[in-house]
Structure formats: C-alpha cells, structure tokens
Symmetry: C2
Subunit: 142 residues, 2 copies
DNA sequence: TTTCGTGCAAAGCATTTGCAAGTAG
DNA sequence: CTACTTGCAAATGCTTTGCACGAAA
C-alpha cells in the first residue's frame, strides 16, 4: 500500500503538482474508489481522514487534477458532476434506479479513430442510461 | 410558418402543456435553432421578441419541456447545459476552438439495442470533443 | 527563506421558489 | 369563474476567491 502511495506521489510530481498530504489523499481516494464520486462524496470521505479539510481544498485539488489530465469529469444532466481516475476512453452506464455508475467494458469503433467526418477527435464520451442488471434481477424477485 | 406554429401548439397540448405565448415562442425557437442553445442564449433571444419575459419563465418552461420529453438537455463539463428539440438518438461533436456543437449523422450499433451486458438501455448519449472541420480548414490557411 | 497550499469566510452565479397580478380555458 | 402562468424579487446552493497562517522545497 505504501508502494502504491509512493507511485501516486510520483505521478503528481511528474505533473509538477506539489504532493501535499491533502492532494495525495484525494488522489488516492479517486484511485481506489470505483463509484465515480461527486465533490460531496469526496469531501465526506476526506473529512473522516482529515477532519480539518475544507471544501475549497477539494475543489482546488480536483480542478488541478482535471487540468493536468490526471482525472476526468463526468457531466450528467440534473446530477452533480462526478470524477474518476480512469482516464482511458471507456463508456458508462447510469442506473436510474440505484443511481450507480458502471464502467462498461465494450469496444467502440471510434476509440481508434482520430477523425470523424473531417472533424479531429480529441475526446470521446459515451454513456447509457437505464436500469442496471442488478436492479432488474432484484425487481424480478418481487 | 403559421402552420408550423400550429403544429407546435398541438404538440404542447397533446402533452397537457398550456400553450401560452411564452412557451410557444420558446418551443418554436428551440425547433428552428440548430445551435443547441444554453438558457442564457434562449433568454437573450426571447427578450428581443418578448421584452418583459423573465429568466424564471425560461427555466420553468425548459424544465417542463424536458420533463415531458419534448426537448433534451446536453450536459458538458465546464460548460452550461444546452438544449435541443431533436429528441431522436444521435451523437454530437463539440469544437473546442469555435465552441459550436454539431449534430453527427453517424450510425451506432447501440441505437437499435435495448440491452447492454444485461443492463436495460433507456437512453444513449455520445459526444466527441476536438476541432471541427471548418476550424481545421481555416487553420490550414494561416 | 521564499514560494505555494490550506482553511475559513465572504463573494459570485446559476437556478429555484414565493407571491401578487394577469391570462387561458 | 377558477386554475394556472408570469415576472419580480428573494432565497438557495454550488463553486470560486481573498487572505492570513502554515507547510514544502
């Protein structure tokens, strides 16, 4: 675990980000969490470990990490922005029943393309909305 | 043109929305505009035609139209939400140079699917970010 | 030592809400 | 007439900013 933290510290330094305790802990949390947390969720989690931490620091840090390309924001209508450390291109599934966001492991023909209809592609985002497998299964039991 | 307005009025009534002048004009604007306007853009456009209109009415109306499924919101990180009346599934391209949002006329294998890895699909959203064809061309002239 | 980051409180904005007056059916 | 909608202003809530103190290089 210490080795992993050290690795994260190196990543920050490589991007010229001072690896303060707060930043490292936030970055660590984003790496170990699979729940695509909101700012609120990050804050609630951090307060447990660092009781004096402020929301301003959370905002400052995630903004910095996004700028440096170390995390990615996920915009969803009528919902708070979420963040993830998995910066590789992939799609998402949002369950409208349980609210979870699931990383989809599907191929997309555009993942390899650098151009579409003459436009140069720099980013690609895709998400599905509906009811996830688990919710469907539990509904069938009712 | 009157015929078109009448058609829009019918659409509102079918969804049990009282076709007030403000609502009809906002709905009309969203139908004729191809620029995927923000709330701000809708307001600025409406004020020209209805000088007394308030932002609250714009918000009330678009929220209602979204609820009823007559328009679709488009969430983009670090950018205001945009709206469009084209509710059919399609992808978008966002140019980071000129800021335009372009409807893409491409097929997607998931447009016809109703399930993905066991999850039931109700909505599908995809967008590319990069530099649009026009901006690439004008850059090449420099 | 010097520069940068943190935490607090205040400021800024977009969006929502409450309400009196006006409008649609 | 009765219920709903509008426009205004106030309230709300998320995010950013200014600043003094503290921490990192």
């Amino acid at each position: 675990m210490n080795k992993k933290l050290y690795r994260l510290k190196m990543i920050l330094q490589k991007k010229e980000i001072r690896p303060t305790y707060q930043r490292l802990k936030i970055f660590e949390y984003l790496h170990q969490s699979k729940e695509h947390p909101t700012v609120e969720m990050i804050y609630n989690n951090m307060v447990k470990k660092i009781p004096t931490i402020s929301k301003a620091t959370i905002y400052n840090t995630i903004n910095l990490l996004v700028e440096k390309g170390l995390i990615v924001p996920l915009a969803i209508p009528d919902s708070d922005t979420r963040f993830e450390s998995n910066v590789g291109w992939h799609h998402h599934f949002l369950c409208e029943r349980c609210g979870k966001i699931i990383d989809l492991d599907i191929k997309c023909e555009y993942f390899e393309k650098r151009e579409i209809q003459g436009h140069r592609i720099k980013e690609l985002h895709g998400y599905f909305k509906g009811i996830c497998r688990k919710c469907l299964e539990s509904k069938e039991l009712v």
